[in-house]
């Protein structure tokens, strides 16, 4: 009667074709113009739906980041993941080139607006942390390791920017941002972790009892650093490192942020770790043997390091949540591709209801995590609890979604070429670094401590 043949129109099993009068897509077109403003159907995917919700400058940022990731990261992702781990200080020509391209594209110095950094000024009506979240998600979606290679840079620069000291920003941040813009492969790295302090470098209760491993001794008009840092992302190839050390004879409350330059006498990368994933990025053990740092290379002042460290973590944990969203999105996209490509019994898997349910769940978990991040990151002053919630919630989601992708691919998930297993290996790191998810949960409670003590019956018992 409608002149429309159900069987002939393309549709997934269990669903009506979108031209069927009972499908919302067709039904809504028959509504009047006023109703259509409230009930409409647009044949675009979830990514596009969410992008369109952003203000124009951030939409552009998101689109540019995705285009860059597809153009520059995708061709390198699988081969870099399989390549042997780099020797300390070695950077393959392809990765060197990638860093140069990212710098030229303005991706490395965009924590500051042009001309100080490389960010488009219009974006800076919106918080820096939200910008970082949007960018890093798109890079992680395509390759975790390459994303970390490029993004550990922002973490390293953060203490300098957070110090609010124009002289430090002018002397240490801007020259590097300019060099990056010119295509020089020069990066920052952030070094807090020591063999004896991982969690203790991220939470105060442990730090209070920790005997610092990297110590600065006064020497003339500067300081001599001694000790070791471990697991420093890009620490072996960085041009400029923000290194946290205690002052001789004092505890962690004396932590101070020092600028150490690649090639400084006594400073060397001892080894790079062999990692489960994120293999395009190095995690280096760094040795400081009487490394001299002049007074004017101290960031934020003596004994301000702990504050700068904690403030940096508050700013960086949301982007870590965001990169985890990128993993979840990457895994989801791979699962959709597989479901549309792989056939069983003469039809693509996407026709099967259990596959549809699984994909919908992955989409929902990813979108929920993204909503949390975008909502939380829309602030200039990230609060500790919010940052930590973003970090552990989104990273747990990422690993769960990566597992769901592996489940959906079944034994095909084991094959490197299908991508899902790499997402899992990359995503698994996010539950560990920037404070383990256990430490991040405790950071939430620490943040609310005073209110909780006020509510508890024996508040004085602390």
């Amino acid at each position: 009667m409608t002149g429309y043949s159900r069987a002939a129109m393309p549709h997934l099993d269990g669903h009506l074709a979108s031209v069927d009068p009972l499908s919302p897509a067709a039904a809504f077109t028959r509504l009047g113009p006023v109703s259509r403003r409230l009930a409409t159907y647009d044949a675009v995917d979830q990514w596009e739906v969410e992008t369109r919700r952003l203000p124009a400058p951030l939409q552009r940022l998101r689109r540019d980041a995705r285009a860059f990731a597809l153009r520059e990261l995708r061709p390198l992702a699988q081969q870099t993941d399989l390549a042997a781990h780099a020797e300390p200080g070695q950077l393959s020509p392809a990765l060197r080139d990638l860093i140069a391209r990212a710098g030229r594209a303005g991706l490395l110095g965009d924590m500051l607006p042009m001309p100080l950094g490389s960010g488009r000024p219009a974006r800076f009506r919106h918080p820096i942390v939200l910008q970082q979240c949007i960018r890093v998600e798109e890079l992680a979606r395509v390759c975790g390791g390459l994303m970390l290679l490029l993004s550990a840079n922002a973490l390293g620069a953060m203490p300098i920017l957070l110090s609010g000291d124009p002289s430090a920003i002018r002397r240490f941040a801007m020259p590097l941002f300019r060099a990056q813009r010119r295509g020089e492969p020069r990066l920052f790295a952030f070094a807090i972790t020591e063999p004896g302090a991982g969690s203790d470098a991220e939470e105060g209760h442990g730090a209070r009892h920790y005997k610092p491993g990297v110590v600065a001794r006064r020497d003339g008009d500067g300081w001599r650093l001694n000790g070791r840092k471990v697991f420093i992302s890009g620490g072996d190839i960085a041009d400029t490192l923000t290194v946290f050390a205690a002052l001789e004879g004092e505890g962690m409350e004396s932590w101070t942020c020092f600028i150490v330059r690649r090639g400084a006498p006594g400073f060397r990368a001892v080894r790079n770790e062999l990692k489960m994933g994120m293999r395009a990025s190095t995690a280096s053990e760094l040795e400081f043997d009487e490394v001299f740092v002049p007074d004017d290379h101290i960031i934020g002042g003596l004994r301000r390091g702990w504050a700068l460290n904690r403030a940096t973590l508050n700013l960086s944990r949301m982007p870590v949540g965001a990169l985890a969203v990128g993993f979840a999105q990457g895994a989801t996209d791979l699962a959709y591709d597989f479901a549309c490509r792989m056939r069983l019994g003469g039809k693509p898997l996407i026709h099967f209801q259990e596959v549809q349910l699984q994909l919908a769940q992955m989409t929902a978990e990813t979108s929920t995590a993204r909503a949390l991040i975008w909502q939380s990151a829309d602030t200039w002053t990230p609060r500790q609890a919010t940052a930590s919630i973003c970090k552990f919630q989104a990273t747990d989601t990422a690993v769960r979604v990566a597992e769901m992708a592996m489940d959906l691919l079944g034994n095909h998930a084991l094959l490197h070429a299908n991508g899902a297993e790499k997402v899992f290996r990359d995503a698994r790191l996010t539950q560990i670094f920037e404070g383990t998810n256990q430490i991040n949960r405790l950071a939430v409670i620490e943040d609310f401590q005073d209110q909780l003590l006020a509510r508890s019956t024996d508040g004085a018992a602390a």
């Binding site: 069983l344 079944g410 490197h416």
Partner: protein, 380 residues
């Protein structure tokens, strides 16, 4: 090991022997987790396992002591599970490989066909567990649609063929084929008669490699099992495979848990040994729980009579619940190590990758649930 009468096996002594073999022959070869076992070394160790009688050299007279040798004997099952578990504690890839070749021997005995070398059974078709179709087939309820789907599921004629995960020096594959009588038959294909593509870089089980295998042109003898017998064979293979997967995974999580316990007893953070933190105790608790529940389940499965479709459904449901717990227990052990756990040298990340592999091989939790439901259809 010498032959012993059924059901009176000196279980503990045999397991001790397996543990000694694992400690002396296997462990030194896999101690550097970041360096996968070489195929040559692997072959040597496997030969020692064969000499010990852990896998039978041919399909002839069973000694009762090799893995999965006497399918109906509860003792042999207990022996096999205990042995795979002990091997899995040292190296899951190697244990999985012995299990696979023991399954092939089991099939060869059932079919009275002696295939030389190290073989594998391609038990899993193109994707998943064929939704409910394979289960309905095993119950003798397969309709035309199920049979059409199974035809495609087990299609090893067209590209890309079926996936197998095994040691690089495998000799041949047993491929299932839905025969004219609508029953599943088995064909042995020596490697040289197959079209084989190596698919390098699997997620885990680094000792093994993944291959897509397609039937070659040459004619191959095909089993002629009666429909009932063909269903029984497949049901038993699926049941033994489920038990084997869980036993190896149990060994893996025990290994991860032991490493995590040791580490938690030496690493200090937060002003004390990390094992004193509730957060770490909860992480360790996941491993302990996975171990206890899997152990219990395997124990009760050994006492279970026969491998009916309903028994298989119970195994599938258990595996659907346990395999994610085994992954979680291994992942939480890794988490106890913090950043160190992410590094290849500690071995934790390898165990987690291996566990992930065992979770998705021969049915993911979701597929196992669907398959179990179809196995139980009309059974009330």
């Amino acid at each position: 090991m010498s032959a012993v009468a059924e059901d009176v096996l000196p279980m503990q002594a045999l397991w001790d022997e397996v543990a000694r073999f694992a400690a002396h022959s296997l462990e030194p070869a896999v101690a550097r987790h970041e360096h996968p076992l070489t195929p040559e070394r692997q072959r040597d160790i496997r030969d020692v396992a064969a000499e010990m009688g852990l896998v039978s050299a041919d399909a002839g007279d069973p000694s009762g002591l090799a893995l999965w040798e006497c399918d109906a004997s509860a003792d042999n099952r207990r022996l096999s599970i205990g042995a795979l578990r002990r091997l899995g504690r040292i190296n899951m890839g190697f244990a999985w490989q012995l299990h696979q070749s023991a399954l092939a021997r089991w099939l060869e005995r059932r079919l009275r066909f002696d295939a030389p070398g190290w073989n594998v059974v391609a038990l899993q078709g193109r994707y998943g567990l064929a939704r409910g179709s394979l289960s309905r087939y095993l119950r003798g309820h397969a309709g035309a649609e199920d049979l059409a789907l199974l035809q495609d599921y087990f299609d090893a004629d067209s590209a890309p063929g079926l996936l197998v995960h095994c040691a690089p020096d495998w000799s041949g594959v047993w491929l299932p084929r839905l025969g004219a009588e609508r029953s599943l038959q088995w064909q042995y294909h020596p490697r040289e008669r197959l079209r084989v593509s190596a698919l390098p870089h699997s997620h885990g089980l680094d000792e093994l490699c993944s291959y897509a295998v397609q039937r070659g042109e040459a004619d191959t003898p095909t089993s002629a099992l009666a429909p009932d017998a063909s269903r029984d064979v497949m049901t038993e293979l699926c049941a033994l495979n489920t038990l084997g997967l869980l036993a190896v995974a149990l060994g893996g999580v025990e290994h991860a848990h032991a490493l995590a316990l040791d580490y938690a007893a030496t690493r200090r953070q937060g002003a004390q040994l990390i094992r004193e933190h509730a957060a770490v105790q909860l992480l360790l608790g996941q491993g302990r729980q996975a171990i206890a529940l899997t152990e219990q389940m395997l124990d009760s499965a050994c006492g279970q009579a026969g491998d009916s479709p309903l028994a298989l459904a119970r195994l599938y449901r258990s595996r659907a619940a346990l395999q994610p717990m085994l992954c979680r227990g291994s992942s939480d052990a890794l988490q106890v190590f913090g950043g160190m756990g992410y590094m290849r040298d500690t071995g934790l990340e390898k165990i987690l990758r291996d566990q992930n592999c065992l979770r998705v091989i021969h049915g993911t939790p979701l597929e196992l649930q669907l398959a179990a439901t179809a196995l139980e259809e009309d059974a009330s």
